[in-house]
């Protein structure tokens, strides 16, 4: 097991280095637009996968929370011209506040009810943005939002943004891994598996769920803020049903049981969406087919396939090493 862990860590380090070195191999567009979008969506997808796998809550409100934070940035930057630090703080606070409000209500339910209620909450954000033209400028959205200069980094510059996103994605990934290994994480898993028992053991089940939802909202807000800088604008479609479904597609493609799935799913999705149209005019069909095939053949997503391949390999090696005992896992 330890050897495998070391190998996985090594693989992760190699992957990160390879991503950091991407600008040496691919065009500017692929860095500034494709890779940056993959990282941005990965962060959002990680918040979704964290909730789904660790807490067992499938939240369709993540894109809407990201949009809420994004709208704050756009409003603060392009409409009110607030200072950068204030804008970012307000956006993070607003994203988390929306998340907390949603969490307090939604965590009272579970399963399919949770999914539906978060979906409805997401659409509330969408309709609010559409109809409150004074703040959000309706369906036209807020244009001309330029990324700020933060600590010598120009977030309006595609390359700077790419490296900042890479760094943030790694931090979020490491943070969520740490949470999942912590006592808090174990408690969340236990609540997921048997909430009644945890309640009778004296745990504040509801509070833990809200806290987890808040963590996910925090991460979604980060992604939402970068999303606005990335697109230079925001409109209500960023909180629409189709965006929520896109995020679900990304997570199912990548695999709902592992954080790494977020990166795999986002990469496949963004590449398909950007380049499938070069091959066929039925590019939406292609994305749908990819989802169908993954759902059919690899219930654990693409990252699940990689894991399974490693598992089979290990089983075979164990078989060779000792033909006496049957491998357990």
């Amino acid at each position: 097991m330890n050897a495998t862990h070391t190998r996985i860590r090594l693989a992760l380090v190699v992957l990160v280095l390879a991503t950091a070195a991407l600008p040496l191999f691919v065009s500017d567009f692929n860095i500034e637009r494709v890779a940056a979008e993959v990282l941005m969506l990965s962060i959002l997808a990680m918040s979704f996968i964290f909730l789904t796998s660790l807490v067992g809550m499938v939240s369709l409100a993540q894109t809407a929370i990201a949009a809420a934070a994004g709208y704050s940035v756009a409003y603060g930057t392009a409409v009110r011209h607030w200072p950068v630090a204030l804008t970012i703080v307000v956006a993070m606070l607003f994203g988390c506040a929306v998340g907390a409000a949603f969490g307090l209500v939604a965590t009272r339910t579970s399963g399919i009810y949770f999914l539906v209620i978060t979906l409805a909450m997401g659409l509330v954000v969408n309709k609010f943005a559409l109809q409150n033209r004074g703040i959000t400028n309706g369906s036209t959205g807020i244009n001309s939002v330029r990324g700020p200069n933060v600590a010598g980094l120009n977030l309006d510059n595609g390359f700077h943004r790419f490296y900042v996103l890479l760094f943030v994605a790694i931090v979020v990934y490491a943070g969520l891994q740490a949470i999942s290994r912590s006592h808090f994480g174990s408690t969340l898993v236990a609540i997921r598996d048997n909430p009644t028992r945890m309640r009778s053991l004296g745990y504040a089940v509801q509070l833990h769920r809200v806290a987890a939802f808040l963590i996910a909202a925090f991460i979604a807000s980060i992604s939402g803020i970068f999303g606005v800088w990335f697109r230079g604008r925001i409109d209500p479609t960023s909180a629409s049903l189709s965006q929520a479904i896109n995020l679900l597609v990304i997570c199912v493609l990548g695999g709902l049981n592992r954080l790494e799935g977020a990166f795999v799913g986002a990469a496949v999705f963004v590449l398909l969406r950007t380049y499938a149209s070069d091959v066929t005019d039925r590019f939406n069909t292609l994305i749908g087919l990819a989802l169908l095939v993954v759902a059919l053949l690899a219930p654990n997503g693409i990252s699940g396939v990689a894991r399974r391949v490693a598992e089979i390999e290990r089983n075979r090696r164990n078989d060779r090493n000792s033909r006496l005992s049957t491998p357990v896992s």
Binding site: S27, D28, F29, N30, E32, R33, S53, L54, L130, Q131, R133, G138, S139, T140, G141, N143, S144, Q177, S180, V189, R231, G232, R233, D235, T237, S238, N257, R258, L259, T274, S277, D278, V279, T280, D281, R282, F283, N284, T285, L289, L292, V293, L296, L297, P299, N300, G304, R308, E311, I312
Partner: protein, 472 residues
């Protein structure tokens, strides 16, 4: 994250899984096969791919004979210039797909007229699809400019898309953008981009003359307006309101509905009893759904239509709404039955080039993309195909371009927005029972200010739910 999926790989599962894999591969191949074989049937050859680059001359076999001759001549003479890469943003997914496809036909027709070459440079079009959301249009523009490195961009199609793409254009002053059919007034009226040109007039201009005609000729004194809740209908209602209110009319209330409303029955109940007519700025499916709901509710008030309300899909509708729409007045940049010879020639060339694959008559979208492409090609001709000066020369040439289109003379104002003729039409029943739009009045050389002084127009600001006010 440590949760493992309940089932393990075992011999018991291997056989069915292999079967599943095999069957899904077969299914996928079959589906893909079906997709590719169905492709040529429902789309025009040149426009088929969403983003596949194609050199237009290849498809020009079907074009008019004179055009074919030009192509032959161009092929004989060695091309003395490098390929001109033209990026196109149009909508090829979702409910607006048929409109986007007609826009592409407009571009093809303009390019076929010059034989696929401009100033000795063969034209290569690269088409990117958007989905009516501004974000998607900007993403398409980015891919064209930053990845495909196109020389010029034509598009987009829808209102909010235009505002967003104009904003993006500012970050690439070295690339020239000409509009497709996007009709939001704000695109050029508020913070215009120096490299974004609109030769197709805006949604407010498209209503020029309609307000006066409705008030004076039709005798409507008070109306209610219904429009989809985004920038293009805002412009349409504004264009109508400016004329109608100036003539003395009143607007009781303005109802805004989301795009793609399936059921208008609750909206129909909001229509006041005391209005003389209903002004409807809805497009496509929304227009039909509204008319059906209104008719089902027993409504009989006359309809005044926006520019895309009474289009071919509504005119060819069947059932009870047919009687309802006879006599409907509307206004727009084109009129199907325009008696002008230039328009007749344009329609004939369109029909010859696209045949059954196109609409019976070019839509507003084919016309808008055609006019903008035509202007762009004339600009490039004027600078002899030389775009090496960061397109400064081309943009200067476009700014002062005046030319003749199938719908009359077009020139630009200081904000690079078109000044052109607008047609007021009325739905009439033909001898054979079909419906068509008859031209009842032409407003010549309408500018963006709609007859207001610069100060008055600017005082209105961005068109919205209650802006401009009625009666000031």
């Amino acid at each position: 994250m440590t949760r493992t999926w309940p089932h393990r790989l075992s011999t018991k599962h291997r056989l069915p899984r292999a079967l599943i894999i095999a069957s899904s591969v077969v299914m996928m191949t079959a589906l893909l096969g079906a997709c590719s074989s169905s492709k040529p049937k429902d789309t025009v050859p040149v426009e088929t791919p969403a983003a596949v680059a194609e050199t237009i001359p290849a498809a020009a076999d079907t074009t008019a004979a004179p055009a074919a001759e030009t192509i032959a001549a161009a092929a004989a003479a060695p091309a003395n210039g490098a390929e001109l890469k033209v990026g196109v943003i149009t909508i090829l997914e979702g409910p607006f797909t048929v409109l986007g496809q007609d826009g592409v036909r407009g571009i093809e027709q303009a390019i076929a007229e010059v034989g696929g070459n401009v100033a000795g440079r063969p034209i290569k079009t690269i088409i990117e699809s958007s989905n009516a959301a501004p974000d998607s249009a900007v993403a398409a523009a980015r891919k064209l400019v930053e990845q495909e490195k196109v020389d010029v961009v034509i598009g987009p199609l829808s209102g909010d898309e235009g505002i967003a793409v104009k904003d993006y254009a500012k970050s690439h002053p070295e690339v020239t953008f000409v509009n497709g059919t996007s009709g939001a007034a704000d695109t050029t009226a508020i913070n215009p981009a120096p490299n974004f040109f609109r030769f197709s007039t805006d949604g407010a201009q498209w209503q020029a003359g309609l307000g006066d005609y409705a008030y004076a000729t039709k005798g409507f004194k008070k109306v209610v307006t219904i429009g989809e809740d985004y920038s293009f209908p805002y412009s349409q209602v504004a264009g109508f309101a400016i004329g109608f209110c100036r003539a003395g009319g009143a607007i009781s209330n303005r109802i805004w509905t989301p795009i793609g409303t399936p059921d208008f029955s609750s909206i129909v109940t909001q229509i006041p009893k005391d209005v003389d007519a209903i002004y409807v700025a809805l497009g496509g499916g929304d227009a039909i759904n509204f008319l059906n709901a209104y008719n089902a509710a027993g409504g009989t008030k006359p309809i005044i239509g926006g520019s895309i309300t009474v289009d071919q899909s509504v005119l060819s509708a069947e059932g009870a709404i047919v009687d309802q729409i006879i006599g409907t007045v509307s206004a727009g940049p084109i009129a199907d039955n325009n008696p002008d010879q230039r328009w007749k020639d344009f329609v004939a060339a369109y029909q010859k080039q696209f045949g059954a694959k196109g609409f019976p008559s070019p839509s507003l979208f084919a016309h808008g993309y055609y006019v903008n492409t035509k202007a762009l090609l004339k600009g490039i001709e004027a600078v002899k195909g030389d775009l090496s000066d960061k397109e400064v020369g081309l943009q200067a040439a476009l700014s002062k371009l005046t030319f003749d289109t199938p719908t009359g003379k077009v020139s630009l104002d200081a904000n690079r927005n078109a000044v052109a003729d607008i047609f007021v039409t009325e739905v009439v029943k033909n001898a054979d029972g079909t419906l068509s739009n008859k031209v009842v009045s032409v407003t010549t050389q309408v500018d963006q200010k709609l007859g207001l002084s610069e100060a008055d127009y600017n005082a209105i600001g961005s068109f919205g739910h209650d802006n401009p006010k009625c009666g000031n």
